[in-house]
């Protein structure tokens, strides 16, 4: 006597807020365009090529991983495309195709795939890949050499190289406004500060990245740079310079905020960000490397699980 109508039977809750991994990826990709499009405008065809190859190859690597590990096809979540895009944003426009493809291999396969895919990667895949390719073929990523054949209407020396070699006075010619407008050489999507900031603010407001991380990362940069500058203004450039050069902005909004490798609790997010910012400046000012963002992010990725243990006790577990 039971009626034969087939109803859907599922589990509570029967409502969903409507978010999804794919819409998050889409939004971050969209925000990244604000920096990537001006970058492509500046570096032309070559930059477009690098971006396209990076995204396409990242997707193919992901498909391959799905296939080998016999998991459902996961390119639909947009994460592979996003990793490819973010990787491309850090590259000089002159990167040869094989380096791009190897880089996305490191990002998607080594950085993410072997850990079990999205959500399981302990490091930001794009940062990990970038660090590996930089260490492997350092000559390709020396921005001064790489972009030698371009004609710019501004000082075409990688600003961080200048400050490293010649101290603060050497970079006085870089006005903050010019830096923000992308009048500096660097990665395809890493130099147009206004775009990065607008994109970052958009992502923070919409909750696609955790604002606590971005803000504290920048605060860490600011405070540490200010400290160094205060101690020796001759040697160390001020916070304004450090905030808008190298990978600082892309780091704050697109790299440090990667979900899987960053904390989710409030205090840990602040510590994570501040630490990242401070380490960046430490490496830039007293380390041997030109830019510290990538190493700083790998280090905070590493401490993330420990930092994220600082959290409120669950209820019913005493105070």
């Amino acid at each position: 006597m039971f009626s034969t109508l087939k109803l859907t039977v599922s589990h509570a809750p029967f409502w969903h807020i409507g978010s999804s991994t794919s819409s998050k990826s889409r939004n971050i990709l969209l925000a990244s365009l604000l920096a990537v499009v001006p970058g492509c405008y500046q570096y032309g065809q070559a930059a477009v090529g690098v971006v396209t190859i990076a995204i396409a190859s990242a997707i193919i690597w992901e498909l391959l991983i799905n296939f080998i590990s016999r998991r459902p096809i996961s390119v639909g979540d947009g994460n592979a495309a996003l990793v490819g895009m973010i990787f491309a944003m850090m590259l000089p426009a002159t990167t040869p195709w094989w380096a791009v493809v190897t880089g996305t291999f490191f990002a998607v396969v080594i950085g993410k795939g072997i850990f079990g895919g999205i959500g399981a990667n302990p490091f930001n895949p794009a940062v990990l890949a970038m660090t590996i390719v930089m260490l492997s073929w350092s000559h390709l990523f020396d921005f001064n050499a790489a972009l030698l054949n371009y004609q710019f209407d501004f000082n075409a020396v990688y600003p961080l190289v200048l400050s490293k070699a010649f101290g603060a006075p050497a970079v006085e010619s870089f006005a903050v406004m010019d830096l923000l407008k992308g009048k500096q050489i660097g990665g395809i999507g890493s130099t147009f500060g206004i775009g990065l900031i607008l994109g970052g603010v958009y992502l923070m407001l919409r909750g696609y990245i955790r604002w606590e991380i971005s803000v504290s990362f920048l605060a860490g940069i600011f405070a540490a740079a200010l400290g160094f500058n205060f101690l020796n203004p001759e040697l160390y450039a001020g916070p304004g310079f450090h905030l808008f050069t190298g990978y600082t902005l892309i780091g704050a909004f697109f790299l440090a905020t990667e979900d899987s490798s960053s904390p989710v609790n409030f205090i840990p997010m602040l510590i994570y960000g501040l630490l990242g910012g401070a380490l960046t400046i430490l490496i830039r000012n007293i380390g041997t490397h030109i830019d510290g963002v990538l190493y700083a992010i790998l280090i905070i990725n590493l401490v993330n699980p420990i930092v994220d243990k600082i959290r409120p006790k669950a209820i019913g577990k005493g105070v």
């Binding site: 009626s3 589990h11 509570a12 809750p13 998050k24 909750g207 960053s262 006790k313």
Partner: protein, 425 residues
């Protein structure tokens, strides 16, 4: 359905429904042919039970499978037992369903057991006769000697979104609630009775004779665990303190029973149709849900969903013949298009669940263990049993993992394992 706001920076909020100033009176819906009483008792033990197919049943008669059983229901109509069958509910809980073909309205016979015993009320009698009332009052807590009850909390705030069932009783039946509260005080000897209501009902709640406390409208602040924590005095807030919770409907039913000498067995349900219209329905316990749908010409199609309980914690039933239970506060019809998509994607560690969890659980870590079915680990290290089962984490999960279902399943599995162990020694 409430969607993510454009600005996702702030924590998402869900609000309880608020009863209208001029809420229409409940529509009375009748049982058409039969009622079904679904008793939480395995069918196997029903073999030599008290009940036989063909037995006549009176209105208000206690329907229990064995003499001693705590689980029983009250027949809301008189008639004849036409079927006794097993039923397996969510998480494999075992029920026995007793179907009663009901007598015509004019031929209804009433069980006078209650009337005779209501002269000398006692806690034992209440436990043995009244827990089948609408709102499902639970008297067994008073018999737990480890945790003597010191406080009685009456919930005039609803337990899930969309429902206005409990609010209705505070707003319209506060007098019978007062009788019910006085009755509870008398049989338990506990004078500390607290009535929890949403802000807008604080004034009318005053005439209940109980101490009135309010909760805000943000889900899940009316959850019993959170009430204990935030509303009750520090003494009652510890998980070991004895607190007895009753719904406003249960208390009102107790009051009505003692005022009239007759057991009220009509359940009040907030019914939400597919188009979102909200109505109050008064219906005999055990009536198949189909009778409600017929009354309002609500046509279900293949793939639609029928939800008993609220949108966050309810249960979806697979047939419209499922009966109204004493604690079914809400009935929601959701069209196929509104059923949210779930996925088997892994957790991306977005942390949204952690930020909404009222129990401060690291759901992002917990879920990894649950998915790997490492339940013991989940309980020992990741606070599985701190979960108050509000469902918020699943609601926000970006990967659309059925986190809440994982949690329920894990708790149930561990609990049944523990039970099995205890039974073995």
């Amino acid at each position: 359905m409430i969607k993510r706001s454009f600005f996702g920076l702030v924590k998402p909020k869900l609000h309880y429904e608020r009863i209208d100033e001029a809420q229409a009176e409940p529509v009375s819906v009748k049982a058409s042919k039969n009622i079904m009483l679904s008793i939480e008792h395995p069918f196997e033990s029903a073999k030599n039970s008290l009940l036989k197919i063909g037995d006549p049943v009176k209105n208000g008669q206690k329907i229990a499978l064995t003499e001693k059983a705590d689980d029983y229901l009250l027949a809301s109509k008189s008639g004849r037992i036409s079927n006794i069958s097993p039923f397996v509910g969510i998480l494999g809980k075992k029920y026995t369903v007793v179907t009663i073909d009901i007598d015509a309205d004019s031929a209804q016979t009433v069980d006078d057991h209650f009337k005779s015993s209501s002269q000398t009320p006692s806690l034992e009698k209440a436990r043995d006769l009244l827990s089948g009332l609408p709102g499902k009052p639970d008297f067994t807590v008073f018999f737990n000697t480890d945790k003597p009850v010191k406080t009685i909390v009456v919930m005039g705030a609803d337990n899930d979104l969309l429902s206005i069932t409990r609010q209705y009783f505070v707003k319209n039946n506060i007098i019978s609630m007062k009788t019910g509260i006085d009755f509870l005080r008398k049989i338990t000897g506990i004078h500390n009775v607290i009535l929890i209501v949403p802000q807008h009902l604080a004034q009318v709640a005053g005439s209940s004779g109980a101490t009135v406390k309010t909760v805000d409208s943000e889900y899940p602040s009316a959850h019993p665990h959170l009430i204990r924590q935030h509303v009750l005095s520090t003494e009652a807030s510890s998980p070991d303190a004895g607190v007895a919770f009753f719904s406003a409907e249960a208390v009102s039913a107790l009051g009505a029973a003692f005022n009239t000498g007759k057991l009220p067995l009509e359940k009040l349900i907030t019914f939400i149709s597919k188009d979102g219209t909200r109505r109050l329905v008064s219906i005999p316990i055990g009536t198949p849900l189909q009778d409600i749908l017929n009354e309002f010409n609500e046509n279900l199609e293949e793939g639609d969903q029928l939800i008993v309980g609220g949108p966050l914690t309810g249960i979806s039933v697979y047939t419209t013949d499922s009966p109204v239970m004493p604690d079914s506060d809400t009935l929601i019809v959701q069209s196929k298009e509104q059923v949210p998509e779930r996925s088997d994607a892994p957790c991306v560690n977005c942390g949204d669940c952690v930020r909404v969890c009222p129990a401060s659980i690291q759901v992002n870590l917990l879920v990894r263990y649950l998915e790997a079915q490492q339940y013991q680990e989940a309980a020992d290290q990741y606070d599985l049993f701190s979960c108050i089962e509000c469902g918020f984490c699943s609601y926000v999960c970006e990967s659309r993992i059925p986190v809440f279902q994982h949690i329920r399943l894990a708790k149930y599995t561990l609990e049944s394992m523990k039970e099995a162990e205890e039974n073995n020694v």
